[in-house]
């Protein structure tokens, strides 16, 4: 039902694919902007994911180098946190709440509906590349569930019908 923390991986120390030049430039820009603050690793990982949609394996080396960490350390942090993603997502990212208050108003059925209609499990992307489905454990909308975040925007009282309408609109966008 729920998956463990670790996902597919280039092992720490393994050979990471080289990044395209534009992505390299972005990674270096994020590092330069954020590296001076104490405990900079999480802000940098967020910065890279915000800019690129994910944290490519090729970003680990430059981040480790800038923060004077080993690549294994950066890899360890990256894989510890559920929010960080190592594979490129679809055009839209959907976080579906699976926690208790939403369960009490039909989240489990909605979850099955989402997986069936998108044709993917959690952490996967619909075949047309439109929607990446991620689980969330509470979005702070617990009096008006079921809840989801679509590209960072919260939606409340999501029935399967509303879900379909949201997805259809996102696919067109």
């Amino acid at each position: 039902m729920m998956e463990s923390r670790a996902r597919s991986a280039t092992p720490p120390g393994g050979i990471a694919p080289a990044l395209p030049p534009a992505q390299i430039a972005t990674v270096h820009e994020v590092i330069a902007r954020l590296q001076e603050q104490p405990g900079a690793l999480l802000p940098i990982l967020h910065g890279v994911q915000d800019a690129l949609g994910h944290i490519p394996d090729g970003a680990v080396g430059p981040i480790a180098h800038a923060l004077n960490l080993t690549r294994a350390e950066v890899h360890g942090v990256l894989t510890f946190y559920h929010w960080f993603r190592r594979e490129k997502p679809g055009r839209h990212v959907l976080h579906l709440c699976r926690a208790e208050a939403c369960q009490a108003v039909g989240a489990t059925a909605l979850e099955q509906h989402a997986q069936r209609t998108l044709g993917t499990d959690f952490h996967g992307t619909s075949v047309d590349g439109a929607i990446t489905l991620e689980p969330a454990y509470c979005l702070g909308n617990c009096a008006c569930g079921p809840s989801l975040l679509l590209d960072g925007e919260l939606h409340a009282r999501v029935t399967p019908q509303r879900f379909d309408a949201l997805i259809a609109a996102a696919r067109k966008a």
Partner: protein, 519 residues
């Protein structure tokens, strides 16, 4: 045009999810079309979520509410004389008189939903910064004493006396100390932290500056979960306004004292709500729980003395410094002083935030405030205190919400989340979820938590399948025992509570399988 009429439309994430953005736009457009002058203010939410989007019009008779309003209602509302508080089916009357609001004791949430959260002048006009102004005239011992005497206990879960924590950090000698706000709010069924971040962020900022003055810290961090993008943006805007307004920086309110504050974003790990894990995360590491001692108050962030408190704890401090310890301690019961923002969630007709003095019962909350289930079916259970909290059966609904009274029924008040379920709930599945969640979120340091939770899921699955029921129940209880006694933190140590409460109060749900082989 005449004097503009002030209209409030919330910018709270839940209100927006219910259409507040569209309503605000429709009001602006309709007013323009009719050449009517409107001053649109985007407030936080009052927490009456069944009425959101709740539009409030300021009239000579006070703020008149309309809700729940959809964009399509707006033209008709204008026709009905919205700007003068005119009659309409959605008219609720004076907002302060709405029964579910009037019957609350709003101390910490007094301004939430009332003011423009990013307007420092509005904050001041509603009593903001008076607590800090008082604190600036006091020595640090006196500030700690007021907080101690108020009886305030941590609202993040463990209910530790805040004054004692502050005293420890104050006494610690160091070149640097930190104040950290725990706004990870990982508990399902809770949204009090989020509402304040979006509805009254200056209260948190003021509370943290006061904490800094009390213990001698000049730097603070607010750790906000990544699942709260709206709160993150609003709070960062509030930080900028507080810096520009001289609340933060090198001359707090023009005094010679300094305090700097930054926000940091979590990354979707429930365990990072545990205080030492959160500190590891702030340091840029995996959120592995630390052994205590040393206490964070002695050796916390970057090895320095650190006060780490829940957001509601810190945001309660300004009013205490403004009105005094006795005022705050005058609310509540027993050793639970003051108020608790209760978050009524799940399958509930009138869900939302209810700030009440300790001592209120679940029955009052669920029946009187909440109006029963949303589905209209009977209430079967309520989980109180987040994913590590017990499932409380209706037979215990008269227990007063009080830390000690809940501990006595093997429950936990926690951060004040109440998640209501109707009679369609399958308690064996809820027990299974508690174990699965623990397995998913375990930091991995202790075997009982990491492995035990996975075993727990398997054992419950066997029970659900009807295999060797008694043997598996004994095994599950044994496993829970091992987790309770052999875990370093409350994730592994308390995940058994929802499981055991389900087993104790709803044994029939574990015995549904046909052909049970070991009756």
């Amino acid at each position: 045009m005449s004097e503009p009429v002030t209209v409030h439309v919330p910018r709270d994430a839940t209100a927006k999810a219910l259409g507040a953005e569209q309503v605000a736009a429709a009001i602006a457009a309709e007013a323009a079309r009719r050449h009517l002058a409107v001053r649109l203010v985007r407030n936080g939410s009052r927490g009456l979520f069944w009425l959101e989007p709740l539009v409030e019009v300021t009239t000579a008779a006070g703020r008149i509410g309309y809700g729940p309003v959809q964009a399509g209602d707006v033209a008709a509302l204008f026709d009905a004389g919205l700007l003068g508080g005119g009659a309409h089916a959605l008219r609720l009357g004076p907002v302060d008189e709405i029964p579910e609001l009037r019957r609350q004791e709003r101390l910490t949430f007094a301004r939430c939903g009332v003011i423009d959260p990013l307007d420092l002048a509005d904050y001041r006009a509603h009593g903001g910064l008076r607590g800090l102004a008082n604190a600036l005239t006091m020595d640090s011992d006196a500030i700690v004493r007021v907080v101690t005497e108020s009886g305030l206990r941590g609202r993040g879960g463990a209910a530790f006396p805040t004054g004692i924590k502050w005293k420890t950090a104050q006494a610690a000698q160091a070149d640097r100390k930190y104040i950290v706000c725990n706004a990870d709010e990982g508990d399902s069924g809770t949204f009090a932290d989020r509402m304040l971040l979006e509805g009254d962020p200056f209260a948190l900022i003021e509370g943290m500056v006061i904490a800094g003055l009390a213990v001698g810290a000049t730097m603070g961090y607010v750790y906000i979960r990544s699942e709260y993008p709206d709160a993150w943006h609003t709070f960062n805007a509030a930080l900028a306004a507080a810096r520009a307004g001289g609340v933060l920086g090198d001359a707090v309110l023009g005094s010679g004292r300094h305090f700097h504050l930054e926000a940091r974003l979590g990354a979707g790990a429930y365990i990072c709500g545990e205080e030492t894990s959160l500190l590891e995360s702030l340091e840029g590491k995996r959120g592995m729980v630390r052994y205590k001692p040393p206490l964070p108050a002695i050796k916390g962030l970057f090895g320095k003395p650190t006060v780490i408190n829940n957001l509601v704890t810190l945001a309660s401090v300004p009013a205490i410094l403004d009105h005094g310890a006795a005022w705050y301690a005058g609310y509540g019961m027993g050793r639970s002083r003051g108020t608790l923002p209760i978050q009524l969630a799940g399958n509930i007709r009138r869900g939302g935030l209810i700030e009440k003095a300790f001592g209120v019962s679940l029955r009052e909350l669920i029946e009187d405030f909440g109006g029963g289930t949303l589905s209209g079916r009977p209430v079967r259970t309520a989980q109180v205190g987040g994913p590590l909290g017990a499932y409380i059966p209706p037979a215990q609904f008269d227990t007063p919400l009080d830390y000690e009274a809940y501990a006595a029924i093997k429950g936990m008040v926690g951060h004040g989340g109440v998640v209501v379920f109707d009679d369609s709930v399958d308690m064996a599945q809820q027990a299974r979820f508690a174990m699965a969640f623990c397995a998913l979120e375990s930091c991995g340091k202790c075997t009982p938590c990491r492995i035990g939770s996975t075993r727990g899921v398997e054992v419950i699955d066997r029970m659900i399948a009807g295999a060797e029921r008694d043997k598996n129940e004994a095994l599950l209880r044994d496993l829970c025992d091992t987790m309770v006694n052999g875990s370093l933190c409350a994730l592994g140590g308390m995940a058994p509570f929802p499981v055991l409460s389900a087993l104790d109060h709803y044994p029939e749900d574990f015995r549904r399988a046909a052909g049970d082989r070991a009756a």
